[in-house]
Amino acid sequence: MNISWIEKNTFHYSEFSDLHRLVDEKQRKNLKISLCLPTLNEEKTIAKEILIMKSELMTRYPILDEIVVVDSGSTDKTREIASAYGADVFEAEKILPHLEKFKGKGENLWKALYITKGDIIVYLDADIKNIHHRFAYALLGPLILYDNIKYVKAFYDRPIAIGKNKIRPTGGGRVTELVIRPLFSLFFPELTQILQPLSGEYAGYRELFEAIPFPIGYGIETSMILDIYEKWGLDVIAQVDLDKRIHRNRDTRALGRMSFAILQTFINRKKKLGLVDYKEKLYSEMIQFNLVKNKFEPDIYEIKGHERPPMIEIPAYQEKFKKPDDLTPLHENIVEATL
C-alpha cells in the first residue's frame, strides 16, 4: 500500500492558526463559506458552538459568512437557543417539503446544501463539549490554501465524558476500530490512512457535496468518503489533527445500531460499484436482545438505509443555484486539479 497520502495530506490545526492569512486568501479567491450544525436535542452545547464561531470566525475574522442550524425536530430548546445566539435555524422537514420526509443526520446535511449559500460548507456535530474555533478554521485551512484539496476530515484524540463531572483521557472511536478499519483494510487499504473516517467534523466544496448521494442516517460519513474517493480519488481529501474532542459516550447497543447502518451503507456501495454481489436480500432490522423478567425479548430496530440522490439532480436546487449548462465544467475543474 502506498502511504504517501498520509504524509502529504495530513495537517495539524496549528498550521492554519494565522487567521489573517485565511481571511486574505478567502477574499482573494472570492469564496463564500457556510457553517452547518445538524441538531437533534442539543440545547446543552449548541449555544456555545454558535457563540464561539460567531465571535471568532465572523465578528473578529470574517471567515464564515453564515451559521446555519438544521434541526431534525428537537423537543428541547435547541431551536430557540440557536436563534437567540444568531444562527439561521431551519427545520429539516420544512426544507424542500414536497419531497418524501426522512429523519437523520445525513438528511439534515443534505438539505443544508439547499439552504446554505457557501462555496465551501463546514459540517460540525453540535455536541462538541470542548468546542473551539479551530474545529472550523483548521478544516477550512487546506481548502482555502491548497487548490487541489476539496474535502477535509477531522481527526483527534477522543476523551469521553464519564459520569457527571469526570473525563476519561482515552477511549472512544470503537466503531472506527472494530468496524470501519477492518472493512477498509479488507477492501480499500488506501483509505485506512484516513485516521478517523467517522468523525462528524468535515468541510468541502459544494461541487463535491452536491454531486454525491447522502444516506439519511449514520452511514453518511462512510458513504461520503467512499463516493469522493471513487469519483475524485484520495488526493482531493486531506485530514487535520484537531487535538482533542470531548463528546458524549454512547452505550454499546447504540454503537451496535450505528455499526449496522455503516455496514449497510458499505455493502450497498460495494454492490453499486459492482465489486460484490449477494445472492440473497439483506435484512434491514438490527436485532438486540433484552433480559426482561427472566425472559429474553428482542429489541428490533429498523434501519432502512434510505439515501438521498445527489442534490444536483433536484430541480429546485438546480433552479436555485445554477443553470444545468454550468454543471459539467465545475466537476471537470476538480478532476483537473487532482491530476
Partner: protein, 389 residues
Amino acid sequence: MDGYLDKLQGFVDTIRSMKETIITNIVLIGQVPAPTFNEKRRTSVFMERLAEFQVDECTTDGYRNPIGIIKGTRESKPPIFVVAHLDTIFGKDVDHYYTIQENSITGVGIMDNSVGVGVLVSLPEIFRKLNLSFESDIVLAGVIQSLGKGNLRGIRHLLKTWATPIRGAVCIESAELGRLNYYADGMIRCEVDCNISTADGWEHKFKPNAILVLNEVINQILKLRLPQKPRSRVIIGKISGGYKHGTIAYDATLGFEIQSNSDKMVKSIFNSIKDIIEGTSHEYEVDLKLKTLSNIHAAKLTFNNPLVKKTVAVMKKLDLTPVSGPSESELSILLSRNIPAVTLGITHGDNYHQPNATVEIEPIFKGIAQIIGVIMAIDSGVCDEHQLD
C-alpha cells in the same frame, strides 16, 4: 472631570454588542482546569487570548503570573492594575466544560473566577470598541496561586517585584455584582492535623478517635469569648478524616480562619487557639500539629476615601446598590502595600462553589461598565492625592 460618569449607561449597550466575544473568552479560559499550583495551562490560554487582542506587551513575571500591558498616553503617570485570580478550587479531572443557555452560563468555577478572568482578557477589545485610551498604562494581571494554600503568592510576588509605583487597582471577581470591597480584615488561615499512632502502646488504654479529638478542639474554640470590637470571628471551614463507618479514625484535619479588623486581635486569638491545641494534645496524648497556611494583615480605605466615593458614584450611576464587606483576597495585599484598590463583582449567580455554578449573562455588561468607570476614575486622578488610612 466627571464627564465619564454620564457615558457609563451608554457603555453598557456597546459592551452588550460584544456579547459573543466576552462569553467566548469566559468559556475558552474557564474550561481549562486551573487548580491552585497547577495553573500553567490556563496561563497559556490567558496569554494566547491577550496576544490575540493585541495588547502592547504580553508577558509573564518571574513567578509566571501572566500580564498584558496597554500603553498609556503619558509616561509620567504610574500604571493602573486590573487583577483577577486564575486559580480554582477544582481538580484537573473534573469536567470543566460549560453549558450556555439563553441567559446563563453553567459550569465548574464560573463564579470563582472564570467570569472575572474572561472579562479581564476582553478589556483591550472593549476599550477599543468604546474608543477609550488612558493616561496610565493599564496592567491586566491574571494572578496565580491565590486560593487556600496558594496564600496569594501570585499577587504578593507581582507587587514585590514591580519596580515602579502603582496608581491604583481594581480586583475583579465573577460575583456578586454590587459588591464593593475596600477593606481587608487581618486573617490567619490554619490547619490542625490530628494523627494517632496505629501501633499499640502503653499510653492508651482505649485508642482515642482523631475526629472526636478535633471535635473537642472545636468545642473549646467555640467557648472563646470574641470581642465585637474590634470585630473578630473564627470560621471553622473544613474538616476531613477517618476511613470507614465502623473504624476509629486515626487521622483527621481541621481547617479554620481567624478574621478580625485588628491584627493584634488576630494574633491574640491565634495564641489562644494554640494553647487549646497544646492542651488537648497533652490531655488526649495525641499528636496535634497546628500549621499556618496564610497570614494577611488588616488594611483599609475609609468610606470617604476618594476612590471609594467615586466607585460608589460609578455604581449608583449604573443603578447598582453597593454592598460592602471585608475581603481576604488580592485586595488585602494591594492595600497592605499602600496601593488604593477596590474589589468589584461582575454578575449574579447561584451555587457558588458547586459543579453546577451558574451565572446570569445580562448583568455582566453592567458589571463591566462599572469596572471601566472605576478605571477611568483612577486615570482621572482620584487616587493621586491618596494616603491609606
